[in-house]
């Protein structure tokens, strides 16, 4: 019976799924209904894969000629010169790719900017999230904890452009006027701390502000996941810790947190992914300095995503089309960085079972 039912392809669980062709699975009409759903499912499953393949193909087709022409300058210098001869540079061809004479593109400051702001976001955001999650689960009364959960959801849902608006209108000027002068004046005069001495521009556009804004964006992801995970840590290991004489703090640090290590790393990686790809808020608070890295943390900078969103609209004004290719190469670099982070996290985290929250014996 099962062999005659068109259900049993080797890839699909012949007999594994409770729904595939069992003896007496129903009338032929019902089985056909099942087939329709399965075929629709196959088509539906392919479409996102097809989209992904298309994205990769478009990026590669656009970027590879640029990659060959740009060479290592792309990664080591900060240059945006569509035409070396100025506005009216002529179009020439090199290795089959069209470009203006003397075209040079380098996005060193964008790449470093992306990495550094993400680093700041993680350094600031992750401890705050974990601390907040611990406080919510172990210190707040249950009703207030629910209310705080609403704040976290709201923060997660606020469009990044609104956070950027708040950044340039309120947060940035606050940092620039009230915090930075105070910190700069009072820091000890140690050479290694010179990176933290300086001044911000009036709108507060700087590397620090960008990093803090990104931290605000990854906090809801990490905090709500951490909160859910901490709630699920079984009582037995915690009671054991207390029986051994640990204080609450030690119990949290040595039992609870390691227990949720797997899921926590997953959430942090999600947060890093969001920080790497964040475009609009950073474009508003970074100062858009494509020329060089800032000399201190209060200087303006830029990130890959901000450079892309600012430059793409006008890239077609380069008649040779090479500016579009250079930006495709930059987009590809961003995708590769994000992929690398995801893969690295996968390797750090042991594979846990499917759809449930990924917690397991983390000790």
């Amino acid at each position: 019976m099962a062999a005659s039912a068109p259900a049993a392809g080797p890839a699909e669980g012949a007999g594994d799924s409770p729904l595939s062709g069992l003896p007496g699975a129903g009338t032929p009409a019902a089985r056909r209904g099942l087939d329709v759903i399965r075929w629709l499912g196959r088509i539906g499953a392919i479409i996102p894969l097809g989209a992904l393949i298309c994205i990769v193909i478009v990026l590669l087709v656009e970027a590879i000629p640029a990659f060959r022409y740009n060479g290592t300058t792309f990664f080591t210098h900060s240059v945006y010169t569509p035409g070396g001869g100025g506005y009216d540079s002529a179009i020439v061809h090199t290795d089959g790719v069209a470009h203006q004479t003397g075209a040079t593109f380098g996005f060193f400051s964008s790449i470093i900017g992306t990495l550094v702001t993400t680093l700041i976001a993680v350094i600031v955001g992750v401890p705050l999230s974990i601390g907040a999650a611990l406080a919510i689960v172990e210190r707040l009364p249950k009703r207030i904890a629910g209310g705080v959960g609403v704040f976290l959801e709201l923060l997660a849902g606020i469009p990044s452009v609104v956070i950027g608006l708040w950044g340039v209108v309120t947060f940035g000027p606050f940092l620039s006027r009230d915090i930075v002068p105070f910190v700069s004046r009072n820091l000890p005069d140690v050479p290694v701390l010179n990176y933290f001495k300086g001044s911000m521009n009036g709108l507060g556009q700087s590397m620090l502000t960008s990093g803090l804004i990104l931290a605000i964006m990854i906090i809801p992801i990490v905090a709500s996941t951490a909160r859910d995970l901490i709630r699920q840590v079984p009582i037995l290991p915690r009671e054991g810790a207390v029986a051994l004489g640990m204080s609450d703090a030690q119990c949290a640090m040595r039992v609870t947190l390691p227990w949720i290590r797997t899921g926590l790393i997953g959430a942090i990686v999600l947060g890093i992914g969001r920080a790497l790809g964040e475009t609009i808020a950073v474009a508003m608070v970074s100062g858009n300095n494509t020329a060089a890295l800032p000399s201190d943390i209060y200087g303006t900078m830029t990130t890959i995503a901000a450079t892309l969103v600012n430059g793409l609209d006008s890239a077609f004004g380069d008649g040779s089309g090479f500016s579009v290719r250079a930006l495709a190469e930059l987009a590809l670099v961003l995708m590769i960085i994000t992929l690398a982070v995801n893969v690295a996290a996968r390797m750090l985290v042991r594979r846990t079972s499917g759809a449930a929250l990924p917690i397991g014996p983390g000790l």
């Binding site: 890839a11 007496g24 089985r31 499953a45 996102p48 907040a132 608006l165 209108v169 790809g277 995503a305």
Partner: protein, 312 residues
């Protein structure tokens, strides 16, 4: 003195963690360390809540004094000049783009989620598909915007319009809805399916009437998440729906469509020195916050109803 017995299992009653203060043998250092640790945690909590409150208050404080209901019904005129108009195309555009994208993405995702959880059980295919969705979820939205602009708007000649915008947003939201569908389908108790089989109900009917119905709240939550994401996107829409477009219409291509986040980005005080334009930016931010709040409330209502239904 120990309150361990009064704590409910699984929680720690506030301030009465077993071990603190109950055993005089704990050295002062550890007790102080404990207090400092939890004080830091509470500070962290306050720091986490502050931006949300500060932001919401700031936006409302700036938008409310100059709010006019006509903002909802008047078209935008321009960023300079005394009369800047309202946000009507932006509101309409955001609603239409979001709805269509979530519906299209939702249909594809639900089919995908059903397929993944009900059919694709053997290792390799499922892993490839799963891996594909993970990668897709990790693609930054600006990269999707780039591909949408270069391949769809320019390459296929669609120019700015509803169609490229919907395609890009749908692709953006598919991984989230798929994950939610897969998760909620997996959480349908096996006893439901076994019971249906025992009763002789055909498999397709089981799928439709019982499994999907039980998983529905989870799927809807996924779609609400996708809606929140779609409402708040800016970069990919700048590149596919166009800058400062008009009302959506049946003209799907070569017809730029306005969207709310554009106005927050372009009329903000660091780009436009015209105060009237800045008020529009704050109004748009306020509307976006209201949208997100509505979506969150809807999500909680659905989750509460689902919990009530399963706990019967």
């Amino acid at each position: 003195m120990s309150s361990a017995s009064s704590a409910r299992p699984g929680t720690t009653a506030p301030g009465s963690g077993p071990g603190v203060g109950a055993w005089p043998a704990i050295p002062m250092r550890r007790r102080v360390g404990n207090r400092i640790f939890w004080a830091l945690c509470v500070i962290a909590l306050l720091l986490v809540i502050t931006p949300t409150v500060w932001l919401a208050v700031g936006v409302i404080a700036r938008a409310a004094p100059h709010w006019q209901w006509s903002v909802l019904t008047t078209k935008t005129i321009g960023a300079t000049g005394k009369d800047v108009g309202g946000l009507s195309q932006g509101i309409l555009g955001t609603i239409v783009i979001t709805l269509v994208a979530v519906v299209v993405g939702g249909i594809i995702s639900v089919l995908t989620g059903v397929y993944l959880s009900e059919y694709a059980h053997r290792g390799r295919y499922r892993e490839i598909l799963r891996g594909g969705y993970e990668v897709l979820a990790g693609v930054p939205s600006i990269v999707l915007g780039y591909v949408g602009y270069v391949a769809l708007a320019i390459g296929l000649g669609w120019k700015f319009g509803l169609l490229p915008a919907v395609v890009v947003i749908a692709v953006l939201t598919i991984p989230y809805i798929t994950k939610a569908t897969e998760t909620s389908l997996a959480q349908v108790p096996v006893s439901y399916r076994e019971g249906a089989e025992a009763l002789g109900i055909p498999a397709s009917v089981t799928l439709r009437r019982i499994v999907l119905k039980t998983a529905l709240p989870g799927m809807i939550t996924g779609m609400l998440l996708a809606t929140a994401i779609a409402v708040g996107e800016t970069a990919p829409l700048l590149l596919t729906a166009g800058a400062g477009g008009g009302n959506p219409s049946t003209h799907l291509t070569d017809n730029p469509v306005g969207f709310l986040t554009y106005f927050v980005f372009t009329f903000s005080p660091n780009v436009q020195p015209n105060p009237a334009a800045n008020y529009l930016a704050y109004d748009a931010a306020l509307l976006l916050l209201v949208f997100v709040l509505v979506i969150i409330i809807l999500g909680r209502i659905i989750a509460a109803r689902a919990r009530r239904n399963t706990e019967q």
